[in-house]
Symmetry: D2
Subunit: 331 residues, 4 copies
């Protein structure tokens, strides 16, 4: 029973169907009919003009989005447990040509205007110190916590006031929207670019970089190619994304994953390190308890020495979820 | 009738089957069972120990392979019409952190020890001039010309004598092997790394970087992640590659494409700019002649003002090929 | 008798005096009184607003100037024998984060709108090919040839028409002005930035980057620091430059060097590879002839196998110059 | 009365004399007689073979030294208040092509094996997290604190045990040696490379990168040129450094600066934030007290809102030091 990672989950049937339907000759790279339809699809979804580029990974999506905002001598402010800081193998340093990440605090891996200001305010405005050019937030956060629309808005206002770009890592954006029961536009707020994730949510290998600053997309097209991320059969990436949007598969999948996590979280009670708002459960438990869970057939990652991370996928089976909930309650 | 690009061709059914078969929970990234099998599969194919990394594009494959050989202050020597120089959007500059490409001449986009030496010998051995650290050759070349094993060997000997690494861009390596009717090991010769292409030959989005310098692969694993090319559902890339190797689908596909190109080339006769050895035909023809071909239903790219490039895919239909051959003969 | 390099020449006494006069406590970096005076000094010299940054080397000057114009995914077009291509150890690749140099032809290492267009026009306007963002020309050129004002103007008009930045490498800008007997503004034309060299012309270790695009300077201040070129005792660099400007020492020195080169060139007659317009003489001569000159006490560099490069410095002694002229005439 | 910065101090007369004595034609760049003597001079000083490169700034020295140890995908561990993190404008990101700085704690800006381990131990040994490749320590530290030889030795042993390179930022190395009353070799311990600073200690614009890993120097020669730091009249940098070594001017100057700081520190008593071991005094004092000191004619920097930094230079005048000590005692 797999609770290791939503990356380990299956591909949604609609994605397979769309990919196979795309298997006919068309223009290579992003000149195909499907890729050319993405801007309109996301513009409709967000009710706001946007330009969209597909890439194969969230790391590429995040870093290409940030490359539109941050010069090589600048910096991005993010949470100290942000994925771009902790889990992207230094990709921001590569894509931003040596720009820095400046690390802010905050509960649940969420930053606030105050924690951002605590990082930014002490920076002297001179050439000896690296100046921030953008903020990156993760929706839902690395601890499965969701920014409410008013929280995003406060950060966006802060970014504007400081003259900074704003990027949202939405590897689990769908889970955030599902939790908030709001529109995607409300969950994204006034960001300049959003990495809209699909791979963890039933896709195979396609994420969307949604640029609300449309001109920025035209620069980043060059950067995407230069990074080897302009796949020659791009129609298969576009097909995945469009299949996920069609009929709101993305939202249904996220709701399913969130519901599974909620059930697990309910069983965990006091053991929870963070409120369960998306599809991740961070559970306080001893090594012995983790062993017990594993002996019972549950696969998951340790989270430090006294906790576990359990991730519910879009295709989590009810029986597995129920079994896990029982097992946790019985610890 | 599509002769634009082998990138526009269909995905081979065996690839689809393998991908769908891989659609079960497994470890993310490259920890899955299929990815872990790649080293052995290529070691068997080449009869020589190798370490293999999948990536989604030939550009990423080429640049990551070169990153193992060239420091930021160094240079790669390649043909002046090499793909890495002409068509990768500056990716080598990105992946090699500003290293240079030094451009050599040669018929059919093939270099020789002499044309390489003509570039390298004038370089003063001092810090004011950028020093070469590797050679990159393309097998088959950008003009569909194939290096015979003795030609690769001569270049490899030259590289060793000069202390340079040797990389082979094998976006159409399969076509070269099919043409040479030799083993993959003979077609690759003594290179340090090979970008073994599958996407143009029936794959969907997976290429293999084959490191014969096994230690180099362990460094490049970090670079791949850092470039956003370590896809989280990597099992689907491994599955594609293994499906192509299984039963030598890669070779059968390349033979089919080569045969189609040969038929077209035979019809072209004196018009050929280059011998047809792989799956590309470069045809001298006027704008009016190109218009005539297009009106007859054939899609292809202009090649400058007085030539056309016609690419035969693995799935080129006999009837289309015959029709094109007739149309060319009738020009 | 030293004709190796103007880099080997002495420092002008006025420079020494100014440096020693600057040896009193003042603000570090570029906050000192002298550094703060540079903008005004060059604005007066060029009759046009400019912002000026000192750096210690021509390589740093050229690359920082170009960094204001060229994104990492772009390219600079320059002559194929330009200093930035041939003699800066790949510094443009470093400072421009992997951007390319595209190489144009032209007599005497001078480009023209036609030779520039021959490079630029074939570039497809798509993401697969690296797009030019700037042109760099050298005044006087690497072969001691000078662009007439109308030639610079034609290139500037071409650059504007193509939307490209224009940089002038003026390592020997003073020599060009001296040759042209025009104003510095006329010799620089409508460039966006000029690397105004002083080290070869009697300075010790200070060059000026003159930004006519004043805003660009404010970005490049960060890049200069980041490159380790914001020296902490910057007052000594500013002092050098101001001393060279004061009383037009820069122009007098260049005239002296040019006159010496002219005398040598006159003796060389038919042997000249290039007209002598600045302070360099490129002389056709055999190895035996070079040996003869060296035995007679003259130090200079070979230029390939059948030529020599002789450089006259600002402090070339009349007797040495006359002796060299006689020796060449007697070959 | 200047206590702002040792960068604001005068150049030592011996340095001026040596520079002027070097003002005769010699080979450009680092081919001159003086530059060629540096290896031997430092080998004698350290009693251990070393290869030495001059550069104009401490930032360049630090970053070029680290470039020998850290690949673009790696990291350097340093104190969170290290100069390379706080005051070099992101130069490490530039010179190391995007490598990270990982920040350790420690009193007085000094790290220990324990604080280093606290950073390194939690890093998973996989490609998702950036792996450390080197440690950088500052001797004397940014707070004027000195590592005792046994402390350096413990860090070096830790570095070796972890397979990490070790760099020492010795912008004030002379002050550390003066404080320790030991040999330079003892103060440097078993580091791989040392940035030996001279500019703050009576030099004009020359620092030495001392490579104890001699092979590394030969790679970094290319990087120095590529960074625009191979000045064409390098003899003037070598002359400065040799003048400082000759007769141990470097040590005498450091002793003078340390003595001045000690006198000030003695007056400060309980107000000291850090022990005064080198030439910097960090003084707890209110804004009103700082105003009082400034009205009395003393120039210095605020250090946050409730402290001041006072730096004693090699040429601090006794009367000024005594006056300052009295003024502080009287606060």
């Amino acid at each position: 029973m797999q609770f290791l990672s939503d990356n380990a989950a299956r591909v949604h049937p609609a994605v397979w169907h769309a990919m196979m339907a795309a298997d006919a000759p068309d223009a290579p790279y992003d000149g195909d009919a499907l890729s050319r339809t993405l801007d309109a699809a996301f513009t409709a979804l967000f009710g706001r003009e946007c330009a969209v580029l597909w890439v194969a990974s969230g790391t590429a999506a995040n870093c290409l989005a940030l490359a539109a905002m941050v010069p090589p001598h600048g910096a991005v402010v993010c949470h100290r447990e942000a994925h771009i800081e902790m889990d992207e193998g230094g990709a921001p340093g590569f894509y931003l040509h040596g720009a820095k990440l400046l690390l802010a605090d905050g509960h649940g891996a969420k930053v606030t205007p105050d924690t951002l200001a605590a990082v930014i305010d002490p920076i002297r405005d001179d050439v000896h110190q690296v100046q921030p050019h953008a903020i990156s937030i993760t929706q839902a956060s690395e601890y499965g916590c969701v920014y409410a629309p008013h929280e995003v808005e406060a950060i966006a206002a802060f970014a504007r006031a400081r003259g900074l770009g704003l990027h949202m890592d939405g590897a689990r954006f769908a889970n955030a929207v599902a939790h908030l029961a709001c529109t995607p536009a409300e969950a994204a707020g006034d960001v300049d670019a959003l990495s809209f994730g699909f791979v963890k949510n039933g896709g195979l290998g396609a994420e969307a970089i949604v640029f609300f600053d449309v001109e920025a997309a035209n620069v980043i097209r060059y950067r995407r190619k230069r990074a080897g991320h302009l796949q020659s059969k791009g129609r298969f990436l576009a097909a995945q994304i469009l299949a996920m949007l069609e009929g709101d598969v993305w939202l249904a999948n996220a709701r399913a994953a969130n519901a599974a996590a909620a059930a697990i979280g309910a069983a965990a009670g006091e053991r929870l390190l963070h409120p369960v708002q998306a599809n991740e459960v961070f559970l306080r438990c001893t090594a012995a308890e983790r062993d017990a869970l594993r002996r019972a057939g549950f696969a998951f990652y340790d989270w430090g020495s006294d906790a576990a991370r359990l991730v519910a996928s879009w295709d989590a089976q009810d029986a597995h979820v129920a079994a896990l909930a029982r097992a946790i309650a019985a610890l």
